[in-house]
């Protein structure tokens, strides 16, 4: 079943991609092939592969139960928040929180995960910023 859905989604993706290729505005000065032809070939391959997957599906993988799926979704959310807040909060603070969250969700104890998060953050800061001189996000406190 998973592969049938996957194939259908892939086919829609291929159609959307082909449509987006067809509406590319061509410049008045173009080479013999133009900017549309290659994407259209790729869209055809994508579409054919999707149809093949749809018609001949593999056995479905073991999808996680709803709570585990929620777990992954929460991690994604945490990472997006991290990406957004990194320039605001500064590297050390944002990284400590994000690392603590991840290690907590992977099964550390609450206190252990706060300690691990802080150590990870300070450790990466020390190695990459102080030793290797990489510029990391500066927060309101300058680190």
């Amino acid at each position: 079943m998973s592969d049938r859905i996957f194939g259908a989604v892939g086919l829609f993706l291929a159609l959307g991609y082909a449509w987006a290729a067809l509406v590319i505005e061509e410049s008045f000065l173009s080479d013999a092939v133009g900017p549309k032809a290659f994407p259209l070939i790729i869209a055809a391959v994508l579409g054919l592969a999707s149809v093949a997957i749809f018609l001949k599906p593999d056995t479905a993988p073991e999808w996680p139960s709803l709570p585990r799926l929620l777990e992954v979704a929460m991690a994604v959310l945490a990472m997006i928040l991290y990406a957004l807040l990194l320039p605001e909060a500064g590297f050390i603070l944002a990284t400590a929180v994000a690392a603590a969250y991840l290690t907590w969700r992977l099964g550390s104890s609450p206190i252990g995960s706060i300690v691990t998060g802080c150590l990870t953050s300070v450790g990466i800061y020390a190695v990459f910023h102080l030793v290797l001189g990489l510029s990391l996000a500066k927060g309101p406190f300058g680190f």
Partner: protein, 513 residues
């Protein structure tokens, strides 16, 4: 003679303190990454690319660092195979068969050091093979025009799934998806924006480093979260190494095996689509047929440890040949190494050897140096590497995630790129669940633009005649190889994969008995 003097020049370039230090660091990190289950060579190199890049290292030093990581990871994969019966990476799967039984008999130290020597022999011979074969391949490659290159790229994609691929439709899907991603951005030839949906951030196209790190490293983190697999596979009581040095007699008895399988592995590595996993598989089965008279393979025969290790390390070296000489990688990790080259603004291919010989020969010299370092490191320091297996993923995985973010942020300093990376992480996770290979996606984003440019160049030269693509005997040969390479796995892939799995199960059964 010319080759030897070029090689000597290469050593002059590679033997500076900075480069030696980088090689040492790369070997060390690579071995650790190879040893940890879940962090293979592709992952290891992928995480470190942005770092090498942001540190402002020059082309040769960063290549030295990353190829050392590559060789190191190939060495490291065997450690968890032998001690825990869990392959550290896919090519090390065959090492479990005899390595783990040896460990159970209290000969773990011997197995580790013997496999270290075997890895050394394999990689050493393969590096010589690279020196001898790559310049020859370059001569052929100089005959290639745009039409032949287009056919060659198609060949690379068609065979990428490998002989053991189970579902070619999914490989094709992945390749098309990757190439499609590469077409996002301003068209290089006419200057019109394509597939950008008015988003200014996308005008530059999608940075392939962002895609690679997201697909490989972050999706791994999601997999661990999904299973909440936070504890270490090993516990300290389980790891006892025992006697470290292999006896001279043991080494001598394994020497013919190592030499034969190195050669076999090298050939498997050079051929498109075979790669290190198949190299070690072929090596093991070949040796088993040839020397296993008493049926001791699978019950802790030292030769069964030496064969796959020499084979997969030789294949790792062999895979560098098409990558350097043609610019078309034959395996996942060399695809990631190609990303390094492209990020450094070096275009691999025939011209690399004539225009930037210092990069090529410096790299080859570095491979030799890394190989000796790894041998020196792996035998006395094996105890240290086994300790690494005790680090639980719940601590390791957040570090992997955070280092990925640091690397990408260091390059662009934009939150948008970080979000795109998270998006690729989710995509990678879903595709992995659906058993879609990730390597063709990476290769597609890397080579998509070059492929399109060659197509358009070929057709512009012939004034819009599409038949120019199949005009020369060389391109016809490449197209037929591509067709065979794509169709063959549909027929044989399932059988081969089943045999690989079957063999592993058999051995597990026999160790329980």
């Amino acid at each position: 003679m010319e080759t030897l003097s070029s090689l000597a020049d290469g050593f002059v370039i590679a033997l500076t303190w900075q480069n030696l230090l980088l090689a040492l660091l790369g070997c060390f990190l690579g071995t650790i990454m190879g040893a940890l289950p879940g962090l293979g060579p592709s992952n290891g190199v992928a995480i470190l690319i942005p770092l090498a890049f942001t540190l402002g290292l020059g082309a040769t030093p960063s290549l030295i660092l990353l190829t050392s990581v590559y060789y190191g990871a190939m060495y490291g994969g065997r450690i968890s195979s032998i001690l825990l019966n869990i392959p550290g990476d896919e090519p090390a799967m065959m090492t479990c068969l005899d390595g783990y039984p040896m460990a159970q008999q209290g000969r773990a130290g011997e197995a580790l050091s013997l496999s270290g020597v075997a890895s050394f022999v394999g990689a050493f011979i393969a590096t010589w093979g690279l020196i001898l074969l790559a310049p020859q391949l370059v001569k052929i490659a100089l005959l290639f025009g745009p039409a032949e290159y287009f056919a060659l790229f198609t060949l690379a994609f068609a065979t990428l799934g490998g002989v053991a691929s189970t579902n070619q439709a999914k490989t094709a899907f992945a390749a098309a998806l990757g190439i499609g991603l590469a077409t996002v951005g301003v068209d290089t030839q006419t200057g019109v924006p394509r597939f950008t949906f008015g988003e200014v951030h996308l005008y530059d196209g999608i940075d392939f480093l962002v895609a690679i790190v997201g697909l490989f490293a972050l999706s791994e983190v999601f997999l661990f979260l999904e299973h909440r697999h936070g504890n270490a596979e090993a516990n300290s009581s389980k790891i006892s190494v025992g006697r470290l040095m292999p006896s001279f007699a043991l080494l001598k008895s394994c020497t013919p095996t190592m030499l034969r399988t190195s050669l076999l592995g090298f050939i498997a590595g050079v051929l498109p689509g075979a790669g290190a996993s198949l190299g070690s598989f072929i090596s093991y089965t070949f040796e088993k047929k040839l020397v296993d008279k008493e049926g001791t393979f699978g019950k802790g025969d030292p030769r069964g440890v030496a064969a796959p290790e020499a084979g997969n390390n030789a294949a790792a070296g062999g895979a560098l040949v098409p990558m350097l000489a043609l610019g078309v990688p034959g395996s996942g990790t060399t695809a990631v190494l190609l990303a390094v080259l492209l990020a450094l603004n070096i275009t691999p291919g025939p011209l690399l050897f004539t225009q930037q010989p210092d990069v090529v020969w410096g790299l080859i010299a570095a491979l030799f140096i890394a190989n000796f370092m790894l041998l020196a490191m792996n035998i006395p320091m094996i105890g240290l590497f086994t300790r690494v297996l005790l680090i639980p993923p719940r601590i390791l995985m957040p570090i992997v995630a955070m280092v990925s973010f640091v690397g990408i942020y260091g390059i662009s300093g934009s939150s948008f790129d970080l979000m795109v990376m998270v998006g690729f992480g989710v995509l990678g996770w879903v595709l992995r669940k659906l058993d879609v290979p990730l390597v063709p996606i990476i290769l597609g984003t890397l080579l998509g633009n070059a492929m399109e440019n060659n197509l358009r160049r070929a057709i512009s030269i012939s004034n819009g005649d599409w038949f120019t693509l199949i005009d020369s005997p060389l391109s016809i040969a490449l197209w037929s190889l591509a067709a065979i390479g794509f169709i063959l796995p549909i027929v044989f892939g399932k059988v081969l994969k089943a045999r690989m799995r079957h063999m592993k199960k058999d051995e597990e059964g026999s160790t329980i008995d």
